[in-house]
């Protein structure tokens, strides 16, 4: 069990670092979605399935969706050029 807990901690640390290191907002939304999923797994490993479900629905689905839709609107306004490669 301790191995699993250590592994999931490392995953969370790696995921958080990946979110920070991704500079393009659109890519960042997708990476943040994966990070939300990893956080959900962490809550599951620590025996909090209720919180894990909330985390997955909000962190992996709702939040990235809102970010992507907002980015689409910003791009339509012509202000998203900084974010485009």
């Amino acid at each position: 069990m301790i191995v699993l807990e250590a592994a999931v901690f490392l995953l969370v640390a790696a995921g958080g670092t990946a979110v920070v290191l991704t500079r393009n907002p659109l890519n960042q939304a997708i990476v943040a979605s994966f990070y939300g999923l990893i956080l959900g797994i962490m809550f599951l490993v620590f025996q909090a399935p209720d919180v894990a479900l909330s985390q997955i629905t909000v962190g992996a689905v709702a939040l990235p969706l809102m970010i992507v839709l907002a980015l689409a609107k910003v791009r339509a306004l012509g202000g998203g050029k900084g974010g485009e490669q």
Partner: protein, 254 residues
């Protein structure tokens, strides 16, 4: 501020913050040790007292029901705020969504996405209903189930087209669900007052632990929250899509 000064300020602030963090960490209980009495007490009495096998639901919707009501209204206010911010503003015109326009530029949905989305729609809605209605028995509840239900609308958008979503999205019903869910929570709370007990007191028959109809008011509140969250999120989604795909200011890139 030159970069060198900025780095110096950052290093000083980081040192102080790091020291405070380390100091706080030394005061924490050892890894895996739970010193608070409430969790252990609840684990022992919740199933006997409330007949809810999911102790978390017993806490959030019964013992701490007023807190959760506050949280529900935070979400309610947030959805209303977004709807107000994203409303059609003066000078914005509706244009046809790309999919409808004669010179359409939106890429057609691939058949793989379409089939997968439609195949997932039924199971996702069923799973959402399951999560909402079994909140007092197993992990889940109105909030999580409501978001899963709202994902169904997202699947319709992904696998069909925006115009399809506009057709299956009756705004009146969404508003109704959003408000009925928010009002339903208070209504369940007033049941307690009507029965001569306190607000949000669990006055309904509790039944047998593990049965679908058990735990008194907890499944009712779960249902109210589920309806509110599902309605609110679909409303959010459609407001965002409306802004992104339909409304244009004069001179804006279409």
């Amino acid at each position: 501020m030159t970069p060198a000064v900025r780095r110096l300020v950052f290093l000083a602030a980081a040192t102080v913050a790091g020291a405070l963090l380390l100091w706080g960490l030394t005061g924490l209980p050892p890894y895996g040790v739970y010193p608070g009495p409430y969790g252990d007490v609840l684990n022992q009495v919740a199933v006997a007292e409330r007949k809810a096998t999911n102790v978390v639901a017993a806490v959030t919707f019964d013992y701490r029901g007023v807190d959760t009501m506050g949280e529900e209204y935070i979400l309610f206010a947030a959805v209303i705020g977004v709807a107000v911010l994203l409303r059609a503003q003066r000078g914005e015109v509706e244009r046809q969504p790309d999919e409808d326009a004669a010179d359409r530029r939106a890429p057609a949905t691939s058949n793989a996405v379409r089939v997968l989305g439609l195949a997932l729609l039924g199971p996702v809605v069923l799973f959402g209903v399951y999560v909402v209605t079994h909140g007092h028995l197993s992990p889940g509840g109105g909030f999580q189930g409501g978001v899963v239900l709202a994902t169904g609308a997202l699947l319709v958008y992904l696998s069909g087209e925006y115009v399809t979503l506009r057709r299956v999205r009756p705004v009146f019903l969404l508003d109704l669900a959003e408000s009925a869910g928010a009002g339903g929570y208070v209504a369940v709370g007033l049941l307690g007052v009507a029965a001569g007990a306190a607000f949000l007191e669990n006055v309904l028959p509790l039944g047998q632990p593990g049965a679908l109809l058990s735990a008194g008011t907890i499944p009712l509140i779960n249902l109210a929250v589920g309806v509110e969250v599902a309605g609110g999120l679909v409303l959010l989604l459609s407001e965002f899509l409306q802004q992104t795909l339909v409304l244009r200011r004069p001179g804006e890139v279409t």
